[in-house]
């Protein structure tokens, strides 16, 4: 038997993908897979929220000011941060790392603004007496139905869990982008694009959290103010 190494031909070309079937590097593919798994985490949380909401009397306590005004401005901040991030990635793809850093810093600014506004909003609700497993007394009296059914105390649990996990993602993203901004000259373009993917995902999640948590719980008739 010959000791000469045989040349093995993998039929990679037969399926048209070559060695890069997705035309992305393994790190970018890894980020996409992380985003898929994180999407399922948030989907499961939102489904849990929908389950509780459908099976209970649900309070709708958010007034126009501060809750809806704050959450709308927060949405504006996140959407704008996505725009600055995509400008940063675009600048990076053209080799302009200085401009990329500038846009990433703008993205971090909007992200931090989001967190600050969200914490003010949380502080307002906690000040009113909302806790993970109990409602403020005046919410209970306002939203008890005419046949005596009490509103569920789990409103706070779902609100703080979902918005808290999202805020944690924003905070993590701000730290991640800070590292990227600091090392932008040393990083490859794809690394900056990957950080952009994460940031846009955080924005994307808010596009579901904002309407489902805030818009669907607006105190339309101003019941709490009466």
């Amino acid at each position: 038997m010959s000791t000469e190494a045989r040349t093995v031909h993998f039929p990679a070309a037969d399926w048209g993908g070559g060695v890069h079937p997705y035309r992305v590097g393994h790190r970018k593919l890894g980020m996409w897979l992380f985003i898929v798994s994180d999407s399922l985490t948030f989907s499961a949380l939102l489904m849990g929220y929908a389950y509780l909401r459908a099976s209970n009397v649900w309070p709708t306590p958010f007034p126009f000011y501060p809750s809806i005004v704050f959450s709308s401005v927060m949405t504006f901040c996140l959407l704008s941060s996505s725009l600055t991030m995509v400008f940063g990635v675009s600048a990076s793809s053209h080799g302009n790392k200085t401009a990329a850093r500038k846009w990433i810093l703008a993205t971090i600014f909007f992200g931090v603004a989001f967190i600050v506004l969200h914490l003010i909003e949380w502080n307002h609700l906690i000040g009113e007496g909302l806790r993970p497993f109990s409602l403020p007394a005046h919410w209970v009296s306002t939203f008890t139905t005419t046949d005596g059914k009490l509103p569920t105390p789990l409103f706070g649990a779902t609100f703080f869990t979902i918005t808290g996990l999202h805020m944690f993602h924003v905070a993590t993203g701000a730290v991640y982008l800070s590292v990227v901004a600091a090392r932008v000259k040393k990083l490859k373009h794809e690394d900056i694009e990957i950080s952009g993917l994460y940031w846009h995902f955080v924005d994307l999640v808010w596009m579901f959290v904002f309407p489902l948590i805030y818009i669907l719980s607006v105190d339309v008739g101003g019941h709490l103010a009466k």
């Binding site: 997705y22 590097g25 790190r27 929908a50 794809e190 993917l197």
Partner: protein, 115 residues
């Protein structure tokens, strides 16, 4: 990292991205407007979810660059995610059933028996 991946330019112009941002802001304003329109919650939920899916699609397609990726990547990620999320709805009818099973405390909860 492959060299050919590195060489590729990020498709899409800043003008395109700005127009997507404007659309996202407009859709958000519609959502806020709808919040104060009296309508059954089922209609509201359907419209809001529809708008959210459109917004998510715009973000994924343009900001996350998915529109410019190879079809094999899109087919690997998107259908699986959609199917998994749809499967979560299997729990949902139980929420309506359990609403009818819950004991309603009209007054104080009954005291535990003393032994």
């Amino acid at each position: 990292m492959s060299a050919h991946v590195e060489e590729e330019h990020f498709a899409g112009s800043n003008k395109l991205f700005t127009s997507i941002w404007v659309w996202l802001i407009l859709l958000t304003l519609i959502e806020i407007f709808l919040a104060y329109r009296p309508m059954p919650i089922h209609f509201m939920l359907t419209i809001l979810l529809g708008l959210s899916i459109i917004k998510a699609a715009l973000i994924v397609a343009y900001f996350m660059h998915m529109k410019f990726e190879r079809l094999s990547l899109i087919l690997t990620i998107v259908p699986m995610l959609v199917v998994c999320i749809c499967l979560l709805f299997v729990f949902f009818p139980d929420s309506i059933r359990s609403a009818g099973l819950r004991y309603e405390f009209k007054e104080q909860p009954p005291a535990a028996e003393e032994h």
